[in-house]
């Protein structure tokens, strides 16, 4: 049994780590997955064991060092459902693999010296910093995603294809790829990763050409798929067949990738009036409101719009009260009120024309009165006139007064 890293031991010690194991020709080895397809020539070197030709179905073990020839390709299917497709002239080592199938936690660490590879994340990649690939010029850490890496003497080109993000770092800097189709180059270990940029047209297609099989290759399968096999599988019904559903899914996926999901602005139809100060202007056609605003009355002003001389059972004095009036210029009728005048309130039903009005005052028992006035100013905003009141029985009570209003 190889000596596993301390982090793995720690996880195992708390009893949650489950690592599948199997036996290989090199003795008991910790199994991390299988070679799910192999186009020769691809070789593996398990730790402490001699090199071996990789074949489809063979276990891939912890610390295995995988190399491919100029024609070689292989796909490693990890126990957590991750998959790494390794292209020609590549050199990859599985440095660390710890996976708890119950919780989906653990770690997958790989290193690559050269070549082309595509990684498709499985359960481990859903966790932060759980999957890393170290190259000669920097380290990649993917979360929940898919990426392409091309490593050569000129550096490492990394293209992000899908997921939450791909962090590219070395001692001189760090970049995070979050947009599918964007790439970063790390030219050397002594230079920071480049700024993210769109992958040039044809770049990913060229890499796919090195990863998606080769002419004459069977991937090690005895029975290879044909057009008819694919038709018979019915896979198109599940995947490509429902174009509209896929468009909806793609639209949602693209929205998820948006750093900020802007939405069209909305209006609350039931509240739009209040946001426009409509309440403050809706009464502005009322002359009183207009007059009050246009000629504001100073605070503290004595308001005696109805003033009159009172002869009350031998006494004579001046009294004041409020006055208000409504008048409908359509029907030429209205009402007038003299309020709190010498302790009494009077009202009159008005009739008249567009300029003058009259009415009989009432409101106090055994007392009668008369009111007449006219409108002044623009929009008939001011009104004024005179009034008289007297007792019909009892002690003498006579008023002669005037009123004004705006």
């Amino acid at each position: 049994m190889p000596r596993v890293r301390s982090s793995v031991l720690r996880v195992a010690a708390i009893g949650t780590l489950v690592v599948a194991a199997s036996t290989s020709g090199a003795g008991a080895q910790q199994r991390v997955g299988v070679n799910s397809a192999v186009n020769p020539e691809a070789r593996g070197v398990p730790p402490g064991a001699p090199p071996r030709q990789l074949v489809i179905g063979a276990d891939v073990v912890f610390k295995e060092h995988i190399t491919t020839s100029r024609q070689g390709q292989t796909q490693v299917l990890f126990l957590d459902k991750s998959a790494m497709t390794v292209g020609p002239n590549s050199d990859v080592t599985i440095d660390e693999f710890a996976y708890d199938p119950n919780t989906g936690t653990g770690k997958l660490a790989m290193s690559a010296a050269q070549g082309v590879m595509r990684f498709i994340g499985g359960r481990l990649s859903k966790n932060e910093n759980a999957v890393t690939l170290t190259t000669p010029t920097g380290t990649l850490a993917v979360r929940g995603g898919i990426f392409l890496a091309a490593i050569s003497s000129l550096g490492t080109d990394v293209t992000f294809l899908y997921g939450n993000g791909l962090t590219i770092s070395n001692p001189f800097g760090m970049q995070i790829l979050t947009r599918p189709g964007y790439m970063v180059t790390i030219s050397s270990r002594n230079t920071p990763p480049s700024e993210p940029r769109p992958a040039p047209p044809g770049a990913t297609a060229a890499l796919l050409g090195q990863l998606d099989g080769r002419s004459g290759g069977t991937g090690g399968a005895q029975q290879t798929p044909t057009d008819q096999t694919v038709v018979s599988s019915g896979i198109a019904t599940t995947i490509s067949g429902n174009v509209m559903a896929n468009v909806l899914t793609a639209t949602q996926a693209a929205a998820q990738q948006q750093p900020t999901r802007s939405q069209p602005p909305t209006t609350n139809v039931s509240a739009v009036q209040t946001s426009g100060n409509v309440q403050s202007v809706q009464t502005q056609a009322d002359p009183v409101v207009v007059s009050a605003a246009a000629n504001p009355t100073p605070a503290g002003t004595l308001l005696t719009p109805a003033v009159g001389t009172v002869l009350n059972n031998g006494a004579t004095y001046l009294a004041g009260g409020g006055f208000n009036q409504t008048y409908n210029f359509g029907t030429l009728t209205g009402t007038a009120n003299i309020t709190n005048f010498d302790g009494a309130n009077y009202s009159a039903a008005l009739t008249g024309s567009r300029t003058i009005f009259t009415g009989d005052l009432s409101g106090v028992a055994n007392r009668t009165g008369f009111l007449a006035g006219t409108f002044f100013g623009p929009s008939a905003a001011v009104t004024g006139g005179g009034f008289a009141i007297q007792n019909t029985s009892g002690p003498p009570y006579v008023v002669s007064g005037a009123f004004a209003g705006k």
Binding site: G33, V34, A37, I56, G57, Q75, L77, A83, T85, I120, I146, Y162, P180, G181, Y182, E195, T204, A205, L208, G213, S215, G217, T218, G220, T224, T226, I235, T238, I239, S240, M244, A250, A253, A254, Q257, Q258, P259, T260, Q263, P264, P265, T267, V269, S270, Q273, G276, Q279, V281, Q282, T283, Q284, A285, V289, A293, A299, L303, G322, N324, T326, K406
Partner: protein
């Protein structure tokens, strides 16, 4: 004919059109993505695990690999499906049908460049006609999805009844400087029905940066037409434009950080006459905290210029500027529901000092989407409930009204309004992009100046179309 009049005519036509659309909404067909119920999903997950274990033992078994790909795709585990189908190409690289399926999977994932590579590969090979047709269709969709220009929006048409359509006091009596007066009946609370049309759009242009910085142009429009209170017919249009910069979050607990400065212009008509226009500027910040708390802050400065009309000769007294600060929080409480909290501060500076005010508002709301209880369309229904409280403190005594207990002495008072607003909105989708919307709202405004106090209940029904 003035522009406002033309807009009003258009508004009326659009509003009447809403009635027809309402009817149309009930009968329109629908298309939607297939959803997998939770129980079926669990079964599929178990089946996927079994197939994976079998695939580990028999990686060359094509039937198992196809079955695994199909189950994974049904589950939405497109990565797992892709890994299985990519293996098929290692077995035989000349399979346009597999290229088509892989392209479709990457298309689903929103990895459009890679999807296009696979579709182009399928077309370059000697693909069967059905594969060519389908791949071409997807390529058209990719072209649309990858276009830097995007335009989204909605239209909303319907009818509304308000118990106090003219936002007026229930009592005609006001304590005016010339004594107690009775307001004319047109200025006293009265119910009315209006037909309305509104809409909003967002146009964004992707600047091509990895952070997806974009130029955003937004617009809203609203028009209504009352059957009785036509002097309060309202028409407004507003546009904003500015760049949105997506920033690198400072920590893992912050995501989707963005800042957007923008310019504002709007035009508002009231009663078939120019009411006011606005120009201004704003600054919006958005962030996602701990993945499920969305934060949005807004600061806006607006300069407003009003125009008088015969029935509102003092409107220019509202000339001035608005300063608005908004803090909005959206907390996801489950995959299909969220809580909303919002604080607003609005400082309105006006030419007439008694219109100047500072308002403070608090809003709380809850939004939930749930399965169609009727089973008619199978599309999720949405319900939103909310309540808000607003305090408006005016800066100077209002000459309109006497607050003195002695009616012969004029003592104007500073207006102080307090508003409660309660609302519930129910959206019933008819198709993927058409929904029937019903909303109830109650506004209760109390004021120390009775002229400004009112209570209004409104109910509206409309049809919303998203595009």
């Amino acid at each position: 004919m003035s522009a406002i009049s033309m807009l009003r005519r258009l508004g009326r036509s659009a509003a009447w059109l809403s009635i027809a659309l309402l009817a149309l909404g009930f009968y329109a067909g629908h298309s939607r993505a297939e959803l997998i119920p939770g129980q079926d999903r669990a079964q599929l997950a178990i089946e996927q695990d079994k197939l994976f274990q079998r695939m580990l033992r028999e990686p060359a078994n094509l039937d198992v690999a196809f079955a695994y790909a199909a189950v994974s795709a049904k589950l939405g585990d497109n990565e797992a499906a892709a890994s299985a189908l990519e293996r098929m190409l290692l077995f035989n690289p000349n399979l346009p049908r597999i290229d088509l399926e892989l392209g479709s999977l990457y298309f689903r994932m929103g990895s459009f460049d890679l999807a296009r590579d696979y579709f182009n590969k399928a077309l370059a090979a000697n693909a069967p006609p059905d594969v060519r047709v389908r791949a071409s269709r997807y390529l058209e969709e990719i072209a649309a999805q990858q276009s830097p220009s995007r335009f989204t929006g909605y239209l909303f048409f319907g009818a509304q009844h308000q118990s106090d359509a003219n936002v007026a006091p229930g009592s005609p009596l006001i304590h005016s400087p010339v004594g107690d007066v009775l307001l004319s009946s047109q200025f006293v609370k009265r119910p009315d029905i209006n037909i309305f049309g509104s809409g909003g759009f967002l146009y964004s242009y992707d600047l091509g940066t990895q952070s997806r910085d974009a130029i955003e142009v937004t617009g809203i429009g609203f028009m209504n037409h009352y059957f009785r209170t036509q002097r309060l017919d309202l028409a407004l249009g507003e546009a904003t434009a500015g760049p949105r910069f997506n920033l690198t979050p400072p920590s893992d607990s912050v995501g989707r950080l963005s800042v957007k400065p923008y310019a504002i212009f709007n035009e508002v008509g009231l009663g078939e006459a120019q009411y006011f226009y606005t120009w201004g500027t704003g600054l919006e910040n958005t962030a996602a905290l701990w993945e499920d708390l969305a934060v949005r802050t807004v600061f806006e400065f607006r300069q407003k210029k009003f125009t008088n009309a015969s029935d509102r000769p003092l409107s220019t007294g509202l000339d001035g500027n608005d300063k608005l600060v908004t803090l909005q929080l959206r907390q996801r409480v489950s995959p299909n529901s969220e809580l909303l909290g919002q604080f607003d501060f609005l400082d309105q500076d006006t030419r007439f000092p008694w219109y100047a005010n500072r308002s403070y508002g608090l809003t709380a709301g809850y939004h939930i989407a749930y399965d169609d209880p009727t089973g008619w369309t199978g599309l999720p229904w949405e319900t939103t409930v909310g309540a808000s409280r607003l305090w408006s403190l005016y800066q100077s005594p209002d000459p309109c009204c006497n607050t003195s207990s002695d009616p012969t002495i004029f003592v104007p008072g500073k207006r102080h309004d307090r508003r409660w607003r309660f609302g519930i909105t129910q959206a019933v989708p008819v198709t993927d992009n058409v929904a029937l919307v019903v909303q109830f709202q109650r506004d209760i405004v109390s004021s120390n100046l009775s002229l400004y106090a009112y209570t209004s209940n409104s109910v509206l029904i409309g049809s919303q179309i998203k595009f």
